[in-house]
Symmetry: C2
Subunit: 242 residues, 2 copies
């Protein structure tokens, strides 16, 4: 049973300022919740219509009705449970290996997909400019499908980060050098840009290595690739050379 | 000015059965509409709040109010115009080159992204199983960003199509052979499967070449890639060997 106040607090967490204030975020659906339970995330409370979380301490489980779930869910079709987790502290970013850096990526689905790609390709750190969509936005959390548990996402001043990093910076541009034939380092920052405008001029000045995905369709007409599909191809290229 | 009946007809086109009945579909926003106008698609009518289509015959342009646009749009933020086009007849699928085949891909965003990828990689034909989401679904049309004009999308019995094609069939599986090291033909069918279940057993029996994208993350935990990002990597691999 949920009180009016609890519902207000839970729906408040759909907004970034309340997430920051309470240091809490939520995930929905058995699959995503289970992945986060299996990780280092600290569970705050589960709200569920089915008492299926039998290994979880009883004081952390609240059984609710489907109508109550509907009130606190952001999904069109709510999926049995919603769990609150404590926002972890950001961990330091490593100074070696592959690091993905996002310059102003705004779409929650794109960020979620890129986190899933980092997980697949064994990339442990994702550095986001302050303008990027919040990783604890419920739509991002859902789109990561649990990969969030395995990728350290850090928000910072991207210019300062790249400028002070010992790693070489690779930027993806329409007019860069063919990524299929470039020598790609296994210790590098890979920068992907905003959905509409690509990488900003300020960040571009730091991208010493300009790469591009060759285009095979009609050169006059083909639309650019979406940032998440471009990231898929670029990350695959970096790893395939291993 | 739109009559009640016109609004009913236009909103009816959000449903597949009315699109089939009228042989019409719609696109929204200046960018997508302009791309389709520049292609072989036959314009039926433009509904626009701004008279910016000055090269279009006057009897094809209807000026409407923002309130009217809101009534016929499927976008949360309607974008100045909505245009009806005649559904083209499906063209025959070529017997050479690369063909992408989709086995039961249900998500409109995924189909739209895959059409955009086909366009980028110069793949002219996309063969869909009958269960795939309709390519003229408004969400698919929007997600293609105009690439729809350059890719022939055909719905058919996928088993019969692959079985009768002279082209070798490559299927993407979790346990396939490393796509980075396989010999990939420039004349092939590339099969991608359903979001939840992958390629069906029936179609799998026809996929003589089983390929996979190597995984670099934690092998026990990482979630599989989304079908559109997997398609991005697979299509890139086929083309990079050119």
């Amino acid at each position: 049973m949920l009180s009016k106040n609890q519902i207000k607090t839970l729906t408040g967490l759909q907004q970034k300022k309340y997430r920051k204030q309470h240091k809490l975020f939520f995930a929905e659906g058995i699959k995503v919740v289970q992945e986060l339970l299996n990780s280092n995330f600290e569970l705050h409370q589960i709200y569920t219509t089915q008492d299926i979380f039998i290994t979880i301490p009883r004081d952390k489980v609240t059984i609710i009705t489907p109508d109550e779930l509907k009130k606190i869910s952001v999904l069109t079709t709510p999926q049995a449970c919603l769990a609150l987790f404590t926002m972890p502290d950001e961990k330091p970013v490593a100074n070696d290996g592959l690091i993905v850096a996002l310059d102003d990526v705004r779409d929650p689905g794109n960020l979620g997909t890129i986190i899933r790609l980092c997980d697949w390709f064994g990339i442990k750190h994702l550095v986001c400019s302050a303008e990027c969509v919040d990783v604890y936005n419920p739509k991002v959390v859902q789109a990561t499908m649990g990969s969030l548990a395995r990728v350290n996402v850090v928000y910072t001043d991207l210019y300062d980060y790249i400028n002070n990093s010992p790693l070489p910076a690779f930027g993806t541009f329409m007019d860069g050098r063919n990524v299929y034939t470039e020598t790609l380092s296994q210790n590098a920052i890979i920068i992907m840009g905003n959905e509409a405008n690509g990488i900003s001029a300020e960040i571009e000045s730091l991208a010493k290595h300009r790469i591009a995905i060759p285009r095979f369709g009609d050169l006059q007409q083909t639309e650019s690739l979406n940032v998440a599909t471009a990231a898929a191809i670029i990350l695959s290229e970096f790893r395939r050379s291993l």
